[in-house]
Amino acid sequence: MLPFPKFDYAAPTTLREAVSLLCTPGARILAGGTDLLPSLKHRLFEPSLLVSIRRLTELREWEMLPDGGLALGAGLTLQQLSGLPALALYPGLQEACRTVATPTLQGTATIGGNILLESRCLYYNQPVGWRDAIGGCLKCDGSVCHVAPKGKGCYAAHSADTVPTLWLLGAQVELVGPLGVRLVPISALYSGDGLRPMLLQPGEILTRLLLPPPGPPTVHRKLRTRAAIDYGLLLVAASRSQSGYRAVVSAVGPAPIEVRGESPEDLAEAAFRAVQPLGTHAPAPTWRKKVLRVEVRRAAESLKEG
């Protein structure tokens, strides 16, 4: 049995109250808890206060925008989202929701929590005893990075399935904080620093995800060990327009990486040149790099046929 550390809990009913509670030092939002709560059991962080979004009903609403886009509450579960008829016009996103974890977890996990999923690493997402045995690492309780001992930072991998597709779609997030409301494109949300992967200000809550009107279709590909449960070893989203092909690759560093190309082969070569997978996952980085070329090409080719 793995106990939780001690913390306080609050379930505010208004956004204003939630923001003010979230300004308490050491406070953290609790959405579905499917990322946060296992991390607490592993003592990856020990928040003083969990601020639940359970009673913030506006976070579970969605609406069609006047321009034909969609506004989706951050507290909608991945199951609710993939079941929305309007999501059929965003096939890559629908597919990405359905590849997260397992159907049971998709019924609890929220889209907001997915966008803000902590970065992951073979040496970090482990029980306390495991991490103690290697003296921890830069990201938690240690002073070296086992992935890149000569490097200066942390390279823990961005691993959220929905994000590569959201990036290609040009989605934005609405953040409400003590200083007001701001809109940030998904492509500008990630810092590239594994220690602090999300560019959120203290006290900010992700309230809505804004999708532009449906455009050229996107596809989502996920390479994983088992067809269920597992996080991706590589995540690839691709789309095609008059100006050529685009792909966003993730699970290869703290932020996703975008590449462009004229043809599927060209796109695959661009990804192969731009992306260097590291030892953040169990399979050899050299193998992941080779398979990356194949995954990107196949993603682009499936658009060509469609």
Binding site: L2, L30, S52, A228
Partner: protein, 156 residues
């Protein structure tokens, strides 16, 4: 903001009111506070599905759910599905197909199938497999679990 709260909820149709610390998992609340030990501690971190219960009819992992989050909720555990005297059709088919060995995964798998067959009485083979992807069994190799699930289609 508090370190404990009074929790009111229904479990298997029966109302309960208890004082729980913020850091109590729903699984420990059910097992330790209510004595309902049918939901199992497997991995305890959301990987295996042994702790699955139904919250408002939807499968949820009790090991990574805070009990305080269940305020006002209606929960069904395996004890509320059926027992030796009145087994649920899914349980009956598990028995007939010998789909349990150690039985540790069984309550979670039965609950996931009960919810599936309620929402989709004629699920395709691929849907059954997709849904069973939520649960890990270390004993059976899944063949007999799938056989029990197929047999339960139409009977649940």
């Amino acid at each position: 903001m508090s370190s404990e709260s009074i929790l009111s909820l229904r479990v298997n149709g029966q109302p309960f009111r208890r004082l729980v610390p913020a850091e109590r998992s729903l699984l420990d609340f059910l097992r330790e506070d209510l004595g309902l030990t049918g939901s199992k501690h497997g991995c305890d971190v959301g990987d295996c599905g042994a702790c699955t219960v139904l919250v408002e009819g939807q499968p949820r992992l009790a090991c990574i759910t805070l009990a305080v989050e269940m305020e006002g909720a209606s929960i069904t555990t395996i004890e509320g599905i059926g027992g030796p005297e009145g087994p649920h059709p899914v349980q009956k088919h598990f028995d007939q197909q010998v789909a349990s060995q150690c039985g540790y995964c069984t309550p979670g798998i039965v609950l996931v199938l009960v919810a599936l067959l309620r929402d989709d009485p004629q699920p395709s083979e691929s849907r059954i497999r997709e849904v069973l992807g939520s649960n890990i069994c270390r004993c059976t190799g899944y063949t007999k679990i799938l056989a029990a699930a197929r047999a339960a289609v139409g009977a649940a």
